[in-house]
């Protein structure tokens, strides 16, 4: 109730400011709409160059320089753009074996990534190997469910971050996969994994109810859905589907780890009957995910129930 009141008040205030002074950074059009474009990648795995033209599966696809050009074009057209990565930036080509991830971080910084979360392969050169490269990353790493107190990552990792775009507040938190059994313990050292669902609810409630975010985004490296046949050996692992269904206040999950190509997002119903949008764009930078959202200030905030009519 309190939340709803706040929205109504702030929404009206926003509109009147824009209408009267025309000075609001919100840039509301006459309908009171703010547009936001979210771009996302996951599991790029050091694929700096496109796949060779001779590749049997992805001939000539991917490449950082191309992605940078696409991001540049979107930024030129859209006022409010956010760019995220959901982990496993490292490992997969000799670029990582030889340079340890330096070039990946430099290029992502040049593209002005807003944030990333850790994937299991980002620990492949140990916590030290990752820490050594972090100065090249001019964007924050967000993880909410790893306890990092006893590691060099504690100072360089944040639990959440709020982005302000065109007057709207977008809260972002991050979830990492259980590293035990997946990564050599020598590499992840004292990182302690905690329950991602509990942490998701804690972070999302904080961001939406206390920080009054209009939209809450989860950067996840948990994996899409292990109950699919391909992953039946791992069906107990917590995945994005579980987080979506057992959460409230999470609007969008930008996922990774399972290299799932979702050409369109999947929607899951959360604890209180609202729809949560789950996205993942395969791997290797073959695709760049783009979400175009509209925030209607008069009615309140981003909806999280979506109907998907097909328009040709």
């Amino acid at each position: 109730m309190k939340r709803r009141n706040f929205i109504r008040q702030s929404a009206l205030a926003g509109v009147s400011l824009a209408t009267i002074g025309g000075l609001s950074s919100c840039r509301l059009d006459e309908l009171g709409v703010i547009k936001l474009t979210i771009l996302h990648t996951n599991d790029v795995h050091s694929r700096i160059d496109p796949f060779p033209i001779t590749d049997s599966k992805y001939p000539g696809l991917g490449g950082f320089a191309r992605r940078a050009e696409m991001v540049r074009q979107v930024r030129a057209e859209q006022e409010n753009v956010l760019l995220f990565d959901s982990g496993d930036i490292f490992q997969g080509t000799p670029y990582f074996n030889y340079y340890g991830g330096e070039l990946e971080f430099k290029l992502m910084s040049e593209m002005e990534y807003d944030a990333a979360t850790y994937g299991n392969h980002d620990f492949d050169n140990g916590i030290e190997g990752l820490t050594k490269q972090l100065p090249h990353a001019k964007f924050p790493f967000i993880n909410s469910n790893y306890e990092l107190n006893d590691t060099p990552l504690s100072e360089s990792t944040i639990k959440n971050k709020i982005f302000e775009k065109g007057g709207m507040r977008i809260g972002v938190f991050g979830l990492g996969i259980e590293l035990e059994g997946l990564v050599n313990p020598k590499l992840y050292g004292n990182i302690r994994y905690t329950d991602p669902i509990a942490e998701a609810n804690k972070q999302a409630s904080f961001l939406k109810n206390e920080e009054n975010c209009d939209l809450v985004i989860c950067l996840s490296h948990l994996g899409y859905d292990y109950n699919l046949e391909k992953y039946n050996f791992d069906s107990n692992r917590i995945c994005d589907k579980h987080v979506a269904e057992n959460s409230q206040n999470v609007d969008i999950i930008l996922g990774g780890h399972t290299h799932t190509f979702l050409d369109q997002p999947t929607f899951f119903t959360n604890k209180i009957g609202h729809q949560v949008m789950v996205c993942q764009v395969g791997w290797a930078g073959i695709k760049l995910g783009r979400i175009d959202l509209q925030l209607d200030r008069v009615s309140g905030f981003f909806g999280s129930a979506y109907i998907a009519p097909k328009v040709s």
Binding site: I48, L61, A68, P94, Y99, F261, Q264, G303, I307, V311
Partner: protein, 242 residues
């Protein structure tokens, strides 16, 4: 053609529209000039490293079953490395890997670092798994069923209608109650390629050594010593038909 969403607000009183696209990064998109200029020096330097010659290869080494020249070469060098890394208590030690994990044949001529990356693009590590006699039996049945995989430190003979016999290279036949250490990849140790007998072992030791690094080290050392690569078929996996 586009997909559009109508976003119904939680307050259920208003509708907005949003759209999702997974944009393919293909050659219709040009390269960002600055990014490309940042990549170029790394790419050039990497190419130099990848073109570094490690060793000369005498004859084309190929993959196949029940045994193969390439499979034998790699299994032998991995066993040799594990024997160096493991204490004397980790014996008897044999090696079993999968031929599918070796991604290309090695042509005759100079073998470069890049070729080893092609041969072993994965980041798999060497593990040592201690198997019970029951698991060893399962391993032999598996080898019979799939028609062979690269092995080292042992030979196996399958006779139709009889139990397969595993003979260690020192001539000992493995008896029914012997425990045995097997060096393999972490991928297989977790049951990859249907090697279920590796699951739930008596003991599993992780060396932390990447298989590719073990191959690179071996080739480099042979090259520096003036040796060439060579490998023979020696009947280590034999199917005896009567």
């Amino acid at each position: 053609m586009r997909w559009l969403w109508c976003a119904i607000f939680l307050s259920a009183c208003s509708v907005s529209v949003s759209e999702y696209k997974a944009i393919e990064m293909n050659d219709s998109i040009s390269d960002d000039v600055l990014s490309e200029s940042m990549i170029a020096p790394y790419r050039d330097s990497l190419e130099l490293s990848m073109n570094t010659v490690l060793v000369e290869n005498e004859i084309s080494l190929t993959r196949g079953i029940p045994e193969s020249t390439l499979g034998n070469l790699i299994a032998d060098l991995l066993l040799e490395r594990a024997l160096l890394e493991m204490p004397d208590s980790v014996r008897p030690l044999i090696c079993l890997i999968n031929i599918g994990g070796l991604r290309v044949d090695l042509p005759a001529g100079p073998i470069t670092v890049g070729k080893v990356f092609e041969l072993m693009p994965f980041e798999n590590e060497l593990d040592v798994v201690k198997l019970s006699p029951e698991k060893v039996k399962e391993m032999l049945s598996y080898l019979k069923e799939v028609g062979g995989q690269p092995v080292s430190g042992m030979s196996v003979s399958h006779k139709s209608g009889k139990n397969s016999i595993l003979t260690l290279d020192d001539g000992e036949t493995v008896k029914t109650d012997d425990l045995i250490y097997v060096v393999t990849s972490d991928y297989l140790a977790e049951g990859g390629d249907k090697m279920d007998f590796f699951k739930n072992p008596v003991q599993r030791i992780r060396t932390g050594i990447k298989i590719r690094d073990a191959i690179l080290d071996d080739f480099r050392i042979k090259g520096l010593a003036g040796h060439t690569l060579s490998s023979d078929l020696d009947g280590r996996i034999a199917v005896i038909k009567f």
